[in-house]
Symmetry: C2
Subunit: 453 residues, 2 copies
């Protein structure tokens, strides 16, 4: 019998119970952008950990509370899990096939807001611990959890929390909130994340909307002011036009480029899956494409609002307009500097009427591919997935990993249950149950190997 056979068998035999637990957790909305259900969800998460004999502390912040939990194990080693209990807004609601907060199991999948990002990852970690505890009443090493409630709004209070509480989180390695497989079902390892600077640009030109026949050729129009301001930020060739924006951008190093070169090409799969005709800048795929996807900074309009948006026509001159924008940052850009460059640029361009609000920010960060813990995670993946882990030196998304790096100095790896069709942040978010089992087994194997390393 292989050393992990009992663990794997336990996991294969207890899927329904874990999915039931995940379903209960997802039925509790916890939308940080809308300040909806966060306290309730933190309590629920705390209860789930207490039931496993973790010592739980729900720690208030200036925003949503942080759930901290720890339980001693057999070895002196300590493994830290970072997860979050908040989710993205479920809108647009009409595009969901089943209600977002009533998880629905069909066709080998579970659908619902948060089943992947990130509640399913959290319950998968608990499920791995349950399997280990079924084998031995003591955990093989010390386990700590930190779950925040503001990841989806760029973790505005996590830095402050960490400054005060980092001693609690001391550990030897950290497993990040997400992970999963690529288009070929190969497990993926993400060794870095881009940073983010999320802003809202808004403008008000009058105290009310006005009949467009009255004001059209004499009154300023908030929507036009916004259009012209946005147009100064990026040109049609995707060049970000804010002076100084690219100054701190570092090209990937030779090892990172080598890792990128070894990755499969997702271009055709992206086209099919998302119905995309052409990639930006005439890219067709290949190394150039993969490098652009993660090692280039972005300026993405996430939303636009102004005036009348209903059916048909309304002849109105809007008094207000606003845009939500995220900048994804690469080493060594910082959100603070990008925000300053943006506001200075708009002022220079004559857009003093545009108000710029920083809604969230975080720095980019990477883990060393040569760290022994990275090797352990890659090795254990092979047992579970029967194919080698694909190592990404950087992924396009963002998270507060830079804060963990700065305060704890631990290697940060990914291991998880996602797949490319998980629809994270989109309608019909889902997980594949076969991958839920595999991701759970991988985490259990990691804990065992780590405890013995």
């Amino acid at each position: 019998m292989q050393p992990n056979d009992a663990i794997d068998r336990y996991i294969d035999n207890h899927l329904d119970a874990s999915i039931a637990e995940l379903t209960r957790l997802c039925a509790q909305p916890s939308v940080s952008a809308q300040n909806w259900g966060l306290q309730e969800c933190a309590s629920l998460v705390g209860d789930m950990l207490s039931q496993r004999e973790f010592k739980v502390d729900i720690i208030p912040t200036a925003g949503a509370p942080v759930v901290y939990a720890e339980r001693q194990g057999a070895s002196a080693k300590t493994l830290l899990f970072y997860n979050h209990y908040d989710v993205q807004p479920a809108e647009p609601l009409n595009l969901w096939e089943t209600p977002p907060f009533e998880p629905s199991r069909r066709d080998g999948k579970l659908y619902g807001r948060g089943v992947n990002d990130d509640k399913g990852h959290f319950t998968s970690r608990l499920y791995a611990l349950d399997a280990l505890l079924a084998e031995n009443e003591n955990l093989p090493c010390n386990i700590k959890f930190i779950l925040e409630g503001e990841e989806e709004i760029s973790s505005p209070h996590l830095h402050e929390f960490m400054k005060e509480h980092y001693q609690l989180l001391k550990s030897d390695a950290c497993i990040w909130e997400s992970g999963g497989v690529d288009f070929h079902d190969a497990p993926q390892q993400a060794l870095g994340m881009r940073g983010i600077c999320y802003v809202e640009l808004s403008v008000k030109t009058a105290n009310q909307d006005v009949h467009s026949g009255l004001g059209g050729s004499i009154f300023p129009n908030a929507a036009w002011r916004l259009i012209w301001a946005l147009n100064t930020l990026k040109d049609q060739d995707e060049n970000i036009l804010i002076p100084g924006f690219y100054d701190r951008v570092k090209a990937p190093n030779a090892q990172q480029v080598a890792l990128l070169s070894a990755l499969p090409d997702p271009a055709e799969e992206y086209k099919k899956r998302y119905g995309i005709q052409h990639f930006l800048k005439g890219m067709q795929g290949g190394l150039e494409f993969r490098q652009a996807a993660v090692f280039e900074p972005t300026c993405t309009i996430c939303g636009l609002t102004s005036g009348y948006q209903g059916a048909g026509t309304k002849t109105v001159l809007p008094a207000r307009a606003s845009a939500k924008i995220d900048f994804r940052l690469v080493p060594d850009q910082t959100p603070e500097e990008v925000f300053d460059l943006l506001t200075a640029h708009l002022a220079r361009q004559g857009f003093n009427d545009i108000n710029v609000q920083l809604l969230g920010g975080g720095r980019p960060a990477v883990t060393d591919p040569d760290d022994p813990f990275v090797k352990l995670v890659i090795d254990t993946a092979l047992d579970v997935y029967d194919q080698p882990m694909v190592v990404e030196p950087m992924i396009g998304g963002s998270g507060p990993n830079a804060i963990f790096k700065q305060y704890l100095g631990v290697p940060i790896v990914s291991a998880g249950i996602g797949h490319p069709g998980s629809q994270a942040h989109a309608p019909n978010e889902n997980i594949r149950l076969d991958l839920y089992l595999k991701g759970t087994k991988h985490v259990a194997h990691i804990i065992k190997a780590f405890s013995e390393s």
Copy 2:
């Protein structure tokens, strides 16, 4: 006793009954942009005319029905009233102090969607007829009404209706749907209206919204495509950049400029009322300002929609974006030509991905200031308002007056109950009851004088 004393006394003594009738009419929503309540409102309007012994015909069109009504009078002359029973959408609902479809009387005003535009004008005409019928059981001349249900969406089926039914509408003069006083309570005469070309620009870049961390630097973004396309339509100095757009624009003639010169300057009042800091192009007021307000064509963004528009942040790359735009047209521009110029321009600029939909259009048209009916309306206004009528050669708004001009050849004048704070098309639309009485008296006096002319 003055010839109109009995009429004026009747009107002074029956305000409550007319306001009750207007309240009932406004409680019936009839939002053409949302195809809401139009049939019901047409029936209600028909009943109100039948009660006054009009012969009523509710005539179907490819859109909302047209209500036609006629009643014989003592003289051979025929006066035509053009009104509309549809209203603008009431959104944004949260800015209304009382519900838009539950008219509320307070502080000498009546508030509700449509109390001014245009249901209050219609009931004011009926009220004037009631006063004349109280004096004499026969009307002094033939009266015809046409009420359409699609004015607020640029009358898409009125041209076709007119082609088929213009014989019904033969008349000697026409009183248009609106009118009222300026900032100094002086009655206003509007002798022309700008045309309109209302379009929706929309773009779709993927089959779904995508996580912005995944697609930000490789996938096209619908919101950015829209921004860049819009930016090619108008520059920050308000120049409309569509080649050929200005080719048919005629400067106002000497008589029109003379009329404009005689008008009071609304600049300061506009600033105060609408909370506007600066007018476009550095204008301060004066003739230049008044001329720009009505004799220049416009390109107004009426609405923008894309991606996430809720509270806080959502890191999403939008698959769809759209903008509603109205172009106000001056002689001799036409909506057909502007639409063709716009689509050709966008194609030339490389925006073949932008779909352009024509949502409504109408040509500009003017009435000759020297027409005897214009003089009659101006003369009768002096009796009611105790100050001379202010004659505007053109107003900034639009309506289907060009169709009436083309098929009926009648002079078209304005007479009505509005005031500059009426909030037409905006939240808290209202009428002043003192002006409701004056506008009603003016129309009654016009009918008497016209019958005897």
